[in-house]
């Protein structure tokens, strides 16, 4: 079957290349049939990539160890669901998933907009075709998942930590996000290439951007939850290059989603929006280069590979292409209106954009710093957690504050008097929350206290917006359905607030202690009385190697009662890994989190014990975020009708 996969990839490459070359020729020569043919090639490219993906999925499920990829990432005893998730467990499979999502998204976006935006689509097809050509080339020439070998008895298996439900969903979500950013980029490039820089590309791609942004955001939350329950270091975000690779394009896309509203309302920031959309797309490519080139260390498994150089080349080409396009079309992109007041909604969006971009660039600098020091000093120096945490506070906290102030400012301009009037209740709520928190002992962490107070302020403004809006329209249902975008956005803001509270609570106010215990020993931490009951040793041997699991059993009382278990797994083929013990105390909104850190001499165990307040708000925030995003991106028939009418009028 491997030859079917290889053949399908060669066909995908040929089709993507054809879509790029024929599409460009059709757009330049204004040839309709050639343009339709190029568009069909893009759709067919999705079909052939689907065939290649089906071949790999079948080989994984059937444990066909003649495929090198299957033998490297699965084993006979691996459950079917995890055999299937090995599809994106390795580099070659994840590249195939990338191409599949790219061609799927591309075909759908092009087919849906082929009539309404026909003059843009002729240029969108070659752009998507060009990007797909790169990925198809990588797959059949550099990192093929269809390389074969003499049939092995068993495979190497999948790293135990990847055998987790969150890992089933997290990588595909990220890919749906990363790759989704290609669509707004391709439409923006199409708009510039065709010279049609009116609002249509924005209206057509707003939902695509929102979908990509939603998947990228939710994928990161799932990844954080996986790290929390599986990796076993007590946290959920380590500023690892792979994590930052997803965060940077998400931040840039967040800035774009805000600034695009200024272009729609005022016709301003056209250049800035083009820059942001290109920045977000190129960051997704750059992140892939960073994490696969081996130039920096990462905890992720496919950190070192041969494809990094190719991705760097692609990033350079894509960035030069984007910059050249924007410079070429500058005369078309100049705004005709100006900012009327520094105290207006559009100004607030602008400040928010500057903070988002500053935060993104700070993370970007943290990522490239080790490469630059290696290059110029011969020693790789990395930016540690304090660097990232510091700038997260410097730019993140004002962003939270702006999230509250922005919605209360009117478009065009607001007087200081009117603004203060609208801010009275949120400020009162924030002050009350701040005082209550200080009395409750939250003053031990200044950043934590500021984060909580700002969060109370933002929540108060969201409630105020819903109350005032409902009063003005008559019902909350009417209010939301009339402006899903705005009120969906407020729900997303509420999700961010929950997230901020969760992060502040679980990091600024967590308790973390190491304790050495022998069977029968007890210890007390933060109101929990823990007793170590003993260690179970579970050994197993399979064709892929031997594995020993050391499972420590603990009971606890005090703030809550129960038992939990934490394990250290020693695998001959995959190395050591941890399984943490977590008890969620919903009444106190905190987690008791125990890690078996180390086996010591004489039956003693070194445990790391943490009490993490409000950490579960982070995961809840993920679902609220998805709900808000869905409200905001729900199709708007009125908007579609307006676009059709505009085009009909323009064409006479």
């Amino acid at each position: 079957m491997a030859e079917v996969g290889r053949a399908a990839l060669v066909v995908s490459f040929a089709l993507a290349l054809y879509a790029c070359v024929a599409g460009t020729m059709a757009a330049l020569g204004r040839e309709r049939r050639l343009a339709d043919s190029a568009r069909n090639a893009l759709v067919a490219c999705f079909g052939s990539t689907l065939v290649a993906a089906a071949v790999l999925a079948t080989a994984l499920v059937r444990h066909d160890f003649t495929f090198e990829y299957v033998a490297s990432h699965t084993s006979r005893d691996l459950p079917t669901i995890y055999s299937l998730t090995a599809f994106w467990g390795g580099e070659e499979g994840s590249l195939l998933l990338w191409l599949l999502v790219l061609t799927g998204y591309g075909a759908l976006a092009v087919m849906l907009n082929r009539k309404l935006l026909s003059d843009l689509i002729v240029w969108v097809v070659p752009v998507i075709g060009g990007i797909a050509t790169f990925f198809a080339f990588m797959l059949f020439a550099v990192a093929s998942p269809f390389n074969t070998q003499t049939r092995a008895i068993d495979g190497a298996g999948l790293v135990p930590s990847l055998q987790n439900p969150y890992m089933v969903a997290h990588p595909p979500m990220l890919y749906l996000g990363y790759v989704g950013l290609t669509i707004p980029f391709a439409f923006a490039a199409g708009a510039m290439l065709s010279g049609q820089t009116d609002e249509r590309w924005i209206v057509a791609t707003r939902r695509w951007t929102l979908v990509a942004w939603m998947f990228l955001g939710f994928g990161q939350i799932l990844g954080a939850h996986w790290a929390y329950v599986e990796v076993g270091w007590g946290g959920y975000y380590a500023w690892d290059p792979v994590e930052n690779a997803a965060l940077m394009p998400w931040l840039a896309a967040t800035a774009f989603l805000h600034s695009v509203m200024i272009q729609e309302r005022k016709g301003m920031l056209k250049v800035w929006n083009m820059v942001l959309v290109a920045f977000a797309f190129n960051l997704s490519l750059f992140g892939t280069f960073l994490t696969r080139s081996g130039v920096i260390e990462s905890i992720h498994s496919f950190a070192k590979s041969s494809i990094g150089g190719w991705f760097l080349g692609m990033v350079v080409v894509s960035t030069l292409f984007s910059v050249a396009l924007i410079i070429w079309r500058l005369p078309l992109l100049r705004a005709r209106t100006k900012l009327e007041s520094p105290l207006s909604r559009e100004a607030a969006f602008l400040y928010n954009n500057l903070l988002f971009v500053a935060l993104t660039l700070t993370i970007f600098w943290g990522e490239i710093f080790p490469i630059l020091t290696q290059l110029f000093e011969g020693v790789s120096r990395t930016m540690g957690r304090p660097y990232f945490d510091f700038f997260l506070r410097v730019f993140g906290l004002p962003l939270v504050l702006l999230m509250g102030i922005g919605p209360l400012i009117a478009w065009r301009r607001t007087s200081v008097h009117a603004l203060l009037n609208t801010l009275v209740w949120p400020i009162a709520a924030a002050l009350a929350a701040g005082i209550a928190l200080v009395i409750a002992g939250a003053g031990s962490s200044t950043p934590g206290l500021i984060a909580y107070t700002f969060s109370a302020f933002v929540l108060a403004t969201i409630v105020l917006e819903f109350v005032r809006g409902t009063r003005a329209t008559g019902s909350v249902f009417q209010l939301v359905s009339r402006n899903r975008r705005r009120y969906g956005g407020y729900i997303v803001h509420a999700a961010i607030v929950l997230f901020v509270i969760g992060v502040a609570g679980s990091s600024a106010y967590q308790t973390n202690e190491y304790r050495q215990l022998r069977p029968g020993d007890s210890t007390t931490l933060d109101g929990y009385h823990l007793t170590y009951n003993g260690l179970q040793r579970i050994a197993s041997v399979s064709e892929s190697g031997s594995q020993t699991q050391y499972r420590a059993l603990l009971s606890f009382s005090g703030r809550a009662h129960g038992t939990l278990a934490t394990s250290l797994i020693d695998s001959s083929s995959l190395g050591p890994s941890h399984q943490v013990g977590i008890h969620t105390n919903w009444l106190r909104a905190e987690d008791l989190y125990v890690i078996l850190s180390q086996r010591l001499d004489g039956n003693a165990i070194r445990f790391e014990i943490l009490v993490k307040p409000l950490v579960n708000l982070i995961w809840i925030a993920g679902y609220v975020f998805v709900f808000g995003s869905l409200v905001a991106l729900w199709p708007d028939a009125q908007e579609q009708r307006r676009l059709v009418a505009r085009l009909a009028f323009a064409r006479g």
């Binding site: 079957m1 491997a2 030859e3 079917v4 290889r6 053949a7 399908a8 066909v11 089709l15 054809y18 059709a26 757009a27 204004r30 040839e31 309709r32 049939r33 339709d36 043919s37 069909n40 090639a41 759709v43 067919a44 490219c45 079909g47 052939s48 065939v51 026909s118 003059d119 065709s194 049609q196 009116d198 609002e199 249509r200 309302r265 005022k266 016709g267 209360l408 400012i409 009117a410 478009w411 065009r412 301009r413 607001t414 007087s415 009117a418 009037n421 609208t422 917006e465 005032r468 809006g469 009063r471 003005a472 307006r642 009418a645 505009r646 085009l647 009028f649 323009a650 064409r651 006479g652």
Partner: protein
């Protein structure tokens, strides 16, 4: 052997799909229907009108929800109404030209 046949079928299907626009008979011209520069100007006018009307709508809503006081409202509403009227007049003029 089966693999090669399936691979060949995928390639043939791709060639057919790509060739379809050339194989199917159509009365449509082979020249792409692109927006003319006059069309672009009309598009800009419609955008201007829609922008002015939605700005008025926003202003009303912001005034009703207390984000903008009466003084600011009175100052802002006039220019916005004039901008909307100008956009509508410009569109009417284009319509008159067409008829």
């Amino acid at each position: 052997m089966t693999g090669l046949i399936v691979g060949a079928l995928v390639a043939v299907a791709a060639v057919v799909i790509v060739s379809l626009p050339f194989l199917l008979r159509s009365d449509e011209s082979d020249e792409l229907q692109l927006t003319t520069s006059r069309g672009e100007a009309r598009m800009a006018l419609v955008e201007e009108r829609d922008r002015a009307l939605s700005a008025l709508k926003e202003l009303e809503f912001d005034h009703r929800t207390g984000k903008i006081d009466d003084v600011d409202y009175r100052e802002l509403v006039g220019p916005l109404r004039r901008a909307a009227a100008a956009a509508l007049q410009a569109l009417d003029a284009v319509d008159a030209d067409r008829s």
